[in-house]
């Protein structure tokens, strides 16, 4: 059993870790655009990857979503929402980009 001040320190450390990681990922993404070293396609892919990693970091450290078993099905809700988002966003982009290609 850990005391209350122990868990308090641990929680503050989680927030600070998340903040530091988010800060580093943000700076990396902006630096890639400000001082371009790679081609535009590679830079775009790297920005998206850095953004995704940062979203995972913030879910983990700020929203406290873990893979651990929880009393509620919040992880399942998130995964289901992600599925819906992937289907709708992916479907929209595929159909409309395809349509544009055919219209041009």
């Amino acid at each position: 059993m850990s005391g209350p001040s122990d868990s308090r320190r641990r929680e503050i450390r989680t927030y600070l870790t998340g903040y530091g990681a988010a800060l580093a990922l943000t700076c990396a993404a902006f630096a890639l655009v400000r001082w371009p070293v790679f081609g535009s396609g590679a830079t775009f892919a790297m920005i998206l990857a850095l953004g995704l990693i940062q979203i995972v970091v913030q879910f983990r450290c700020f929203l406290h979503i873990t893979l651990a078993r929880s009393a509620r099905d919040d992880l399942q809700l998130i995964l289901f929402s992600l599925l819906i988002i992937a289907l709708m966003v992916g479907g929209t982009l595929v159909i409309l980009f395809n349509l544009r290609e055919r219209m041009m």
Binding site: S7, T43, A71, D74, T92
Partner: protein
């Protein structure tokens, strides 16, 4: 008992307030469902933006309108406000002084309003360049997506004011604590949406 268990997303009260912790499960989970449906709305606006991107109708383009400096500052401000709200939640959870909780929330509120001011300044500059929503499909999609996030931040700021008043009037009782937990989820969620905005709207538009 399940005080050690994780009841809901976000910071859990756990053993610091076992009774409220039990009650918080359903309430916070319901709010989490709202946030996820909000995420779906934002995702579809992102898809619309992606589709509308080439539809500039000979008008302003992303490269001519976005500026990396102000966007970076806005990102830092919003990210820092997420940390300060986290500090407010931790202070409230562990029975910190009311003044401590209120001052962390005050800092968060100030950062949220600073973010809104910077964003409005950006929009005003865009309008001055002739980049207004009815100019082209691209700009309609842009002004549908980014100001909606701004409206969420404004709502969140109002909510922070309401919670500060509730904390002063009622103290940190059970109901107020659950409200602050929900507000925390909302505020952190807004930061996640902003990550998606700067990495799919602003930065790609600025790649040379």
């Amino acid at each position: 008992m399940s005080t050690g268990e994780v009841q809901h997303p976000g910071l859990n009260l756990g053993s610091t307030d076992a009774e409220t912790h039990e009650a918080a499960g359903g309430d916070v989970f319901g709010f989490w469902m709202f946030l996820m449906s909000d995420a779906v709305i934002f995702a579809l606006l992102f898809a619309t933006y992606g589709v509308m991107l080439p539809a500039t109708a000979g008008g302003p383009t992303p490269a001519s309108e976005y500026k990396i400096g102000p966007t970076f500052v806005e990102t830092l401000v919003l990210l820092t406000s997420s940390l300060t709200f986290g500090m407010a939640s931790v202070a409230m959870k562990h029975g910190g002084h009311l003044r401590q909780v209120l001052s962390w929330m005050g800092v968060t509120l100030a950062l949220g309003l600073l973010f809104l001011g910077l964003e409005l300044h950006d929009f005003a500059q865009m309008f001055a360049h002739g980049a207004y929503p009815t100019r082209s499909g691209y700009l309609s999609a842009f002004f549908g997506l980014v100001p909606l996030h701004g409206l969420h931040v404004l709502t969140g700021s109002l909510w922070i004011v309401v919670m500060m008043v509730q904390l002063c009037v009622f103290g940190a009782d059970s109901r107020v604590k659950i409200n602050v937990l929900r507000l925390g989820l909302f505020w952190h969620f807004l930061d996640v949406v902003w990550i998606a905005i700067f990495s799919t709207v602003y930065l790609p538009g600025l790649i040379r």
